[in-house]
Amino acid sequence: MRISATVLATAALVAGLAGCGSSGSAGSAASAGSAGGGSAGGAGVKIGMSVSTLNNPYFVQFRDGAQAAAARLGAALTVTDAQNDASQQVNQVQNFTSQNMKAIIINPVDSDAAAPAVKAADRVSIPVIAADRGVNGAEVAQTVASDNVAGGRYAAQELAKAVGGSGKVVVLQGVPGTSASRDRGQGFTEGIKAYPGIQVVAQQPADFDRTKGLDVMTNLLQSHPDLNGVFAENDEMALGAVKALGAKAGQQVKVVGFDGTPEGLKAVAAGTMTATIAQQPKLLGQRAVEAAVKAANGETIAKTVAVPVKVATKANVAQFQTS
């Protein structure tokens, strides 16, 4: 009695959710198939894409770029959300292999943990494209990623320029141990070496989180009231720092962020942020799908594609905001 009730409830719930979901992934796949008749090469190619999380505007844009490219090429793209759970992502990729996808795009939750999933696809000879983050310990057909290290270097240059080549700066770090935090930090450290007048007085974690960016910045202002610049490893933390700096933001203290999120770009336009290193998530998604279609058709593709990052400043911010 009780069991059957549970089963019924679950079934009802699943049916209801499937109804909601169909407007998203399944629907887009179908429309992509029908709309792509004119394009060459990709017609009807089934591609599975596992995104690390859709709980972040950046990856939403990444997905949008991928879907647009799939529609243009006539490929049938299925998107799944791994919800930042590496094991869930492995399951999703395994499901793709059993669904006879012709190519798989993985945006790894974790570069190391993605390896088993990629190996599983390799065994059945389905090409895998890694997007945004690399995969360690398994062969992928191609890695499409923003150049985070280069981005860090650009950030150092922009910040140095803004503070006039000398002064005290702090770094707000992302979640400790993530590759984005590591690469951006490394690029920044390398880049800032070129400016001996600039002293990095503190590097503290704020976990890519806006509230924490606000709190940590407030605290750092206590120990370093004479600060000239802040590099935040993402825009969320940069926006928190701007909040903490109040009227000082953009005036005595220059803030450089990373990602080029809509809100970050707005702050750059308003002048409270000096610059943000804009990634191009849509382009990233597009490149990934293009590579996937080629790989599915047996074409040879390059091992790595670096999608350029761009510096968005007040001068050129408008072009990012429209795109």
Binding site: N56, T218, Q222, S223, G240
Partner: protein, 323 residues
């Protein structure tokens, strides 16, 4: 072990009794003195006010959790409910265009409603509190993302004033925290609902056989927890002037830590608002101090974990001595 502890018990002076009863407060004082010595920036009015502001959200959440923990329950959903309430407020005010007072009431009502759902599942559905509120943790977070479509929503300016500072030295979040703390203390000490919480947490069956309507009191308890979470969520959003769907992720654990550091027992029947307040301050002081001292990102997590374990350990040992 037994020898030393019993001797200790025997020779207790009133001062020693006070110290043992207020272990968390002693720990806080030690922490403050230690940090004052280690960092010259720590002991300034501005910095201490910063600590207060940074403690506010955790403290308000923790006051709500104190009610639940005193009844012997647990509420894992407070972080998600905080985010959902703030999103509901911002959504009501901006896209839906309600007057801001209506939107604010709606935000608070959403928090209380989440609490009531938790309570119904626990009191009438007989789900363990851990499971019921774990489910709510997911549901509330998900709804916040659905309503906001994953992007932050701007907060009405009138509500955003909650994040301001009146004059130089009166941050509104601190005022809200103190008011909520006093409300929590009055509820726990002076009201029927509060005294019933202690009775239920101490011995649910004895409370029932003494005429206390246990199920109804649980409704009140979890509704209060949800309401306090809503206030915390609104304060959090006001500090950023925007409601973020992923705000306060993981804050439920900080709230529980604050309550337990403050001397409450997870098995119920024990806990005080003042203790919880001190617990929240300990966490905030610790994070602030680690920033000021420029402790590395990796070590910060170790230190915070160790302090939580130590604070509760000291408390447990003390209890063992007196029992």
């Amino acid at each position: 072990m037994a020898v030393s502890s019993n001797v200790l018990v025997q020779r207790r002076s009133p001062a020693a009794v006070w110290l043992a009863e207020n272990g968390a407060l002693v720990a806080l004082v030690v922490l403050v003195v230690g940090l004052s010595v280690l960092s010259s920036d720590f002991l300034s009015v501005t910095n201490l006010l910063n600590v207060g502001v940074q403690a506010a959200v955790t403290a308000i959440l923790a006051f709500g959790s104190t009610f639940v923990i005193v009844t012997g329950g647990i509420d894992l959903s407070v972080g998600s409910v905080a985010a959902l309430s703030a999103i509901a407020l911002a959504w009501g005010a901006t896209p839906a265009g309600w007057p801001w007072p209506v939107a604010t009431v709606a935000g608070l009502a959403v928090g209380v409603a989440c609490g009531l759902v938790n309570a119904v599942l626990i009191a009438y559905g007989k789900l363990p509190p851990f499971i019921a509120t774990l489910a709510m943790l997911g549901v509330a977070r998900g709804l916040a993302l659905v309503i906001s479509q994953g992007s932050p929503i701007e907060l009405p300016a009138q509500v955003a004033h909650l994040g301001d500072t009146i004059g130089r030295y009166l941050p509104v979040p601190v005022i809200v925290m103190v008011v909520m703390g006093v409300v929590a203390a009055v509820i726990l000490n002076r009201t029927y609902a509060g005294r019933a919480m202690y009775a239920i947490g101490g011995n649910e069956e004895a409370a029932r056989l003494s005429g206390i309507k246990v199920d109804r009191q649980k409704l009140i308890t979890y509704a209060l927890s949800g309401g306090f979470a809503a206030v915390a969520g609104i304060v959090l959003a006001s500090r950023l002037a925007s409601a973020q769907p992923q705000a306060a992720t993981g804050y439920e654990l900080d709230a529980i830590a604050a309550v337990v550091i403050g001397g409450a027992s997870l098995s119920g029947g024990k806990g005080r608002a003042l203790g919880t307040f001190v617990g929240a301050l300990i966490l905030a002081v610790l994070r602030n101090g680690l920033n000021l001292l420029s402790v590395s990102a990796f070590w910060q997590q170790v230190v915070i974990g160790v302090v939580i374990a130590l604070a509760v350990l000291v408390d447990t040992l003390r209890r063992r001595e007196t029992s």
